[in-house]
């Protein structure tokens, strides 16, 4: 009977092999499917005296054509692509937020802010130009805050995205654990679970896109999924992930109990986490640096200037100190004040008489209260200071106004009967005092060889002025460093003297800017920068001058900030911004490039994988035809055996 058995084995085996081929064909487009093929082998032979007799064919095994190394490589690559594509997607978005090459960019807002100052310097008394400048300043502050706001929105969005990806991870890992269980159950029965393995492989691939993993196969057929931070799947058990944001705003990935932290190397979650914790924070910080640099420098200069009215009758600081009795350098001010002098100019509005007062402040010992006391106690003037909610309030008595200008005292005194008047802007390096002293006696503009000597505070002669017969009383004489003097007619005698404070910085303590007295901006960084309420309500307060309405000295100083190449991090404000834009561009361009190259590698690796594991429909069709023929041949053999049987039976039957 073995002849029929042989025929039957041929038919059955061909049928099964055709099943394998058609299974391959129907899964030709299934993601992660691994080609299977039937392994045929001759059945154990019958031992006869003539030797061994074949007993037909059997299907011993259905194998999967796979390459574990390639699958591992593809998983790693999938993690890298995951990070790179998230990175390039979000950097592209960030680039749009900064938008540096477009019209509404911060770059343009900053340029037009400085253009506004420049225009102001040409028409300081013009109200409509002041209003235009205010608009430009508001656009600048709006742009800062818009970008910060968009960065915040991006952070919220990324947080949601991380949340979604983490629940994806949790779904995938629990599926993997389930399949692990099924595979192990089959394996104990000695059954190879091909399609389940494929399914698990596909899940592992999806998981690797989210985070990089290492896969260890156990003897029972289960896999353990490891990350650098710990196991995600170990056999049939799963560690669920969650995320946590600490008080400093750092987002970390933890287990579901939020106890142990997971650190990933690559993958979408890691890229999102980096973007959340580093990239956005980094650009946010750079923006804050820029904004606070602008606030500080503009306010420092603005606080020493004078608006159209020429002075204040009352002013209150914007920023409060932590305590009125704390030393000023530890009173919680965002701009750190330093020890130095503040000059307060008090003008009698009816007589026009100007008094310049100098207050020396030691920020390590002086408090807001003692500062207020010093202002309050200024001899001969009617300015007073009092404390209201840890802020400084300065008010002038009726008939007086005050300012913090660094303008020179126009009428510093007289030599004999000749009164001196001073003009110009002091351009020296640091604040100084010039002492004018008559070197001889005589009549101004008449006595031959009559001279006045000018010494600075260290006793060096800075100028010797001829005021004798070569001088016409009332003419302007150039002293030094931009300071000019004119003497009225009169007589002087040897030793007559007066002194003049020549200052270019009327607040070397920076306390005015720190406290927010006569400042242009308020706020501390990019998230809260605004034009101060007072200036917004009254553009005449914009301090373009140091004295009269047509004076543009302070506006020129503000305009010079644009070219200050040491304004921030050893470069100008605009260049700092360009650096931000180009470093962002650099980062984005690198991300695009690495995404592109990873994708190219993936394509070629996938092709490699397909060479081994992919289904070639043609090949399967060939197999089908082959097994079809084998089936037909076996069937023919059975019919021949059948014919032989028939003959035998009819002959002897």
């Amino acid at each position: 009977m073995s002849d029929l058995q042989i025929g039957l084995s041929g038919i059955l085996t061909a049928q099964r092999a055709m099943l394998v081929a058609s299974h391959n064909i129907s899964n030709a487009n299934t993601k992660g499917y691994t080609r299977q093929s039937a392994v045929l082998s001759a059945r154990n032979p019958m031992i006869t005296t003539a030797g061994t007799m074949g007993q037909g064919v059997e299907l011993v095994k259905i194998i999967r054509h796979k390459d574990d190394y390639l699958n591992g490589r593809l998983r790693d690559l999938s993690s890298s692509i995951g990070s790179a594509s998230v990175k390039s997607q979000y950097l592209k978005e960030l680039e749009t937020v900064f938008n540096e090459t477009s019209e509404s960019s911060l770059n343009n807002a900053l340029s037009s802010f400085f253009k506004g100052i420049n225009d102001l310097s040409q028409n300081p008394e013009n109200m409509s130009i002041r209003s235009t400048f205010l608009e430009k300043a508001n656009t600048l502050t709006d742009t800062f805050r818009r970008i910060v706001n968009e960065l915040d929105q991006m952070k919220t969005f990324i947080k949601q995205s991380i949340d979604n990806k983490i629940s994806d991870v949790n779904n995938l890992t629990s599926n993997i654990a389930n399949i692990n269980k099924q595979i192990a159950a089959l394996q104990t029965k000695g059954i190879e679970s091909n399609d389940l393995l494929d399914k698990r492989e596909a899940l592992l691939h999806d998981l690797s896109k989210l985070t990089n993993i290492t896969v260890n196969t156990q003897n029972n057929g289960m896999v353990n999924v490891m990350t650098p931070g710990g196991a995600l799947v170990s056999g049939a058990s799963v560690t669920n992930l969650a995320f946590d944001i600490d008080t400093s705003g750092t987002l970390s990935i933890t287990n579901s109990e939020k106890v142990s932290k997971y650190t990933f190397k690559t993958g979408e979650i890691k890229a999102l986490q980096d973007f959340y914790n580093t990239t956005i924070v980094n650009y946010d910080k750079k923006l804050d640096n820029l904004a606070s640099g602008i606030i500080k420098d503009v306010n420092r200069i603005h606080s020493e200037g004078v608006g159209l009215s020429g002075g204040f009758t009352s002013i209150k600081s914007i920023n409060s100190v932590s305590s009125a009795t704390a030393a000023l350098n530890s009173a919680g001010l965002t701009i750190n004040p330093s020890t130095g002098d503040i000059y307060i100019t008090v003008t009698n509005t009816s007589t026009g008489e100007v008094t310049k007062n100098k207050i020396s402040v030691d920020v390590t010992t002086d408090t807001l209260a003692t500062l207020a006391g010093k202002i309050d106690a200024l001899a001969g003037i009617a300015a007073s200071a009092s404390l209201v909610d840890n802020k400084l309030q300065i008010g002038a008595a009726t008939g007086y106004k005050f300012n913090f200008s660094y303008a020179l005292d126009p009428n510093p005194g007289a030599l004999g009967t000749s009164t001196a008047s001073v003009s110009g802007v002091y351009s020296g390096q640091s604040n100084d005092t010039y002492t004018f002293k008559a070197l001889g006696s005589g009549t101004i503009g008449t006595t031959s060889g009559l001279q006045v000597e000018v010494k600075n505070s260290s006793g060096t002669v800075v100028a010797t002025l001829d005021v004798g017969s070569t001088y016409t009383a009332g003419n302007t004489l150039n002293v030094a460093n931009g300071v000019s003097l004119s003497l009225s007619s009169g007589t002087i005698s040897t030793g007559d003297t007066f002194s003049l404070d020549v200052i270019n910085d009327s607040d070397s303590t920076n306390l005015l800017a720190a406290l927010g007295i006569n400042t242009f901006f308020s706020g501390a960084d990019a998230s809260d920068i605004v034009v101060s309420t007072d200036v917004n309500n009254d553009v005449s307060l914009i301090a373009a001058s140091t004295g009269e309405v047509g004076n543009n000295t302070n506006a020129l100083r503000l305009a010079a900030l644009q070219d200050d190449t040491s304004a921030i991090s050893n470069t100008s404000f605009a260049d700092y911004l360009h650096q931000i834009a180009s470093s962002l561009g650099e980062e984005a361009s690198n991300a695009y490039k690495s995404e592109e190259s990873f994708t190219t590698i993936e394509t070629s690796l996938e092709n490699r994988r397909d060479e081994i594991s992919g289904v070639s429909v043609d090949e399967e069709l060939v197999n089908l035809v082959r097994y079809q023929q084998a089936y037909q041949a076996s069937a023919k053999y059975i019919s021949i055996v059948n014919g032989l049987m028939d003959r035998l039976l009819s002959t002897f039957g």
Binding site: A28, N29, L91, K92, E95, E100, T101, S111, K115, N118, S121, Q122, E125, P410, S423, G424, A473, G474, N475, T476, S484, S545, G547, E548, V549, G550, N551, N552, L556, A559, A560, Q562, D563, A574, H578, Q579, A581, S582, S583, L584, G585, E586, A588, S589, Y592, T599, T603, E606, N607, D610, E611, I612, G614, V615, S616, V617, D618, L621, V622, V625
Partner: protein
């Protein structure tokens, strides 16, 4: 392992190549339609940085050019006013020469005095010239008229006082370069001496006894005032020249900067069109080979 090629890998290769080609086409098209090589910093980070820097520089040059134009306008305005004042002073000088003639009688001198008075009023009017609401001779007190006249009971000017100050107004016309655009009247009119001379000239002509020596002294003082005017006119002329030269050199740097920006940032249309054509061909052939490769299977032939 035999080298196997599956449908899937053929499809994948064809698809990824077609995608790549479309992407390249899109890049070229973006450059062509915007006319720019750099459309966002990531297109060329170092180029973008350069362009941003150059643009900032160009903007600043434009600002200096604008400032120079405004300065020019103000300086010309002041120059013109100075010339009118100079003309008035020349007329006054001629009148004074005429009046100094001994042969004139009191009535003739009165006529000249009246004429002189008119001219004095004109000088005052010119000295109080404003440019768009800003008094040009008031120093930085630009909203205060420069001179105020005190008049006697007949309405004649008895004295003139200066309300302005001696402060300069400067405009920035280059990096660390400033130009003074105003002329404080105190200096121009020698602390009002010019006016008091004119008043004295007029009064001495009207006086019942004419003092030729005093009159000739006054004429000398008048000359000093006229000379001061001429000096200022020359200085303002020189300033106008300097501004003209500044405009030229700023204009040159602006052109150079614009060229540099265009060189860095603008797309080379001709070569881009060549690239586009080339890319079109590549795309066409990748589509065609894709169509050829994807379709046939053994099924087509197993009939």
């Amino acid at each position: 392992m035999p080298f196997r090629v599956t449908q899937e890998s053929l499809n994948r290769t064809a698809l990824s190549n077609i995608n790549l080609n479309y992407k390249k086409m899109q890049e070229i098209q973006e450059k062509l339609s915007s006319g720019k090589q750099i459309n966002r910093p990531s297109d060329d980070p170092s180029g973008a940085r350069k362009v941003l820097g150059l643009r900032a520089e160009e903007l600043q040059v434009q600002q200096f050019l604008d400032n120079t134009e405004t300065a020019k306008e103000q300086i010309n305005y002041t120059s013109n006013t100075l010339e009118s004042i100079q003309e008035l002073f020349l007329k006054i000088k001629n009148l004074a020469i005429q009046a100094g003639n001994d042969t004139l009688g009191q009535s003739d001198r009165n006529i000249i005095a009246n004429e002189l008075d008119e001219l004095l009023e004109s000088v005052l009017q010119n000295a109080n010239t404003d440019n768009n609401g800003r008094y040009i001779f008031s120093g930085t007190k630009t909203l205060t008229s420069a001179f105020t006249a005190t008049r006697d009971s007949n309405g004649n000017i008895s004295s003139v006082s200066y309300n302005g100050n001696n402060e300069e107004i400067k405009y920035q016309i280059g990096p660390d370069t400033f130009i003074q655009v105003n002329l404080p009247g105190g200096k121009l009119f020698q602390d009002n001496k010019a006016f008091s001379t004119l008043v004295s000239l007029r009064d001495s002509l009207k006086a019942s006894t004419f003092d030729p020596t005093a009159f000739s002294n006054l004429r000398n003082t008048l000359d000093t005032a006229t000379n001061a005017l001429s000096t200022e006119i020359t200085r303002f002329g020189a300033k106008a020249n300097r501004l003209e030269m500044t405009t030229n050199s700023l204009g040159n740097s602006q052109t150079a900067l614009k060229e540099l920006i265009s060189y860095t940032e603008d797309a080379d249309i001709a070569s881009l069109i060549m690239d586009l054509k080339h890319q079109e061909n590549v795309l066409q052939s990748s589509l065609k080979t894709g169509a050829m490769v994807i379709q046939p299977t053994l099924l087509d032939f197993l009939r």
